[in-house]
Amino acid sequence: MKWDICDPSVQYLLHLGDDALILGHRLSEWCGHGPVLEEDIALSNIALDLVGLARQYYQLAAERVGGGCTEDDLAYWRSDREFRNHVLVEQPNGDFADTMARQLFFDAFHYLQLEALQNSGDAQVAAIARKALKETTYHAEHSADWVVRLGDGTEESRRRMAAALERFLPFTAELFTPAEVDRVAFERGWGPDVASLKGPWDHLVLEVLQKATLERPEVPHKLLRGKSGIHSESLGFLLAEMQSLPRAYPDATW
């Protein structure tokens, strides 16, 4: 892209914003396809919360890039290699149980991350985190509720929920493996040591799985480097759709 986005604080904001934007976009794909009307609205609400959060990070990042860079430039004119989200959040929705497993894993992490970011040395990041923590608490309750109900539900819902956990658990190691962007953020006091979030995350997730009467699957972890720009092929397809309009009509305005 034409802007210089190498500044470490910009990179960190992009990392935080990209998780929110990409997951928000994925959830927005459920709009009109939810299993029931009530859930369709719930998923769309959560998608909007996340896109709204991404905008706050991008606006701040654009301000720091300067020279007239906007939040839209950052969302629509970066290529997949320039995105800093975790590989977990770009994974396709699958069925409803898949989406709830992905949400459970991310929501628990997101909650702990925002809790830590409330004390960020970057005062503007701390302010965003304080605001987002409330809605993220709700997201985490929503996904936990569904994992419990599907796990402790019918034979079919249980089978699907167990398969979904198995599908997404291998992606979670990346959440707690510091990449360059995390290391710099931790050194400068902007963000937590992500490895330290693993213990509390295990505790949160295990509590939900116990209520759901589900076992934590024994699966090998994937080595992933989404935070360094190495993504799965899913992100390319997602961006192609998400970015198509501003790229086809660069002068389009709301």
């Binding site: 009530e38 609400n45 309750e141 599907l150 019918t154 079919e156």
Partner: protein, 96 residues
């Protein structure tokens, strides 16, 4: 998995401000009370309409039957003396 048709129906009451009473907002389907409350939050308070929500199983509501309408309600139509309109209000009282 149970289909939405098997999920019970819930009536949703939302209080918009402290001091006001809960008003009926509509209904929704949910598998249990806790989910009904969460669904109600998503469906009926997403534009900050509420400070408190009640959900009640629709089956718990006892309603008057439409064909009893005459018996129940018409007798009060010709009893205007039940309205407090038969005394003068002094001007000093102002708007009541």
């Amino acid at each position: 998995m149970s289909t939405p048709e098997q999920w019970p129906l819930w009536e949703v009451f939302v209080r918009s401000k402290n001091g006001l009473s809960h008003k009926h907002s509509g209904s929704l389907h949910a598998p249990d009370a806790e989910m009904a409350l969460k669904n109600a939050r998503d469906v009926y308070t997403r534009r900050s309409e509420g400070t408190s929500i009640w959900v009640v199983p629709s089956s718990a509501i006892v309603a008057s039957a439409p064909d009893e309408k005459e018996v129940l309600f018409t007798p009060s139509d010709d009893k205007v003396y039940r309205h407090p309109t038969f005394y003068e209000i002094p001007d000093e009282v102002g708007h009541m």
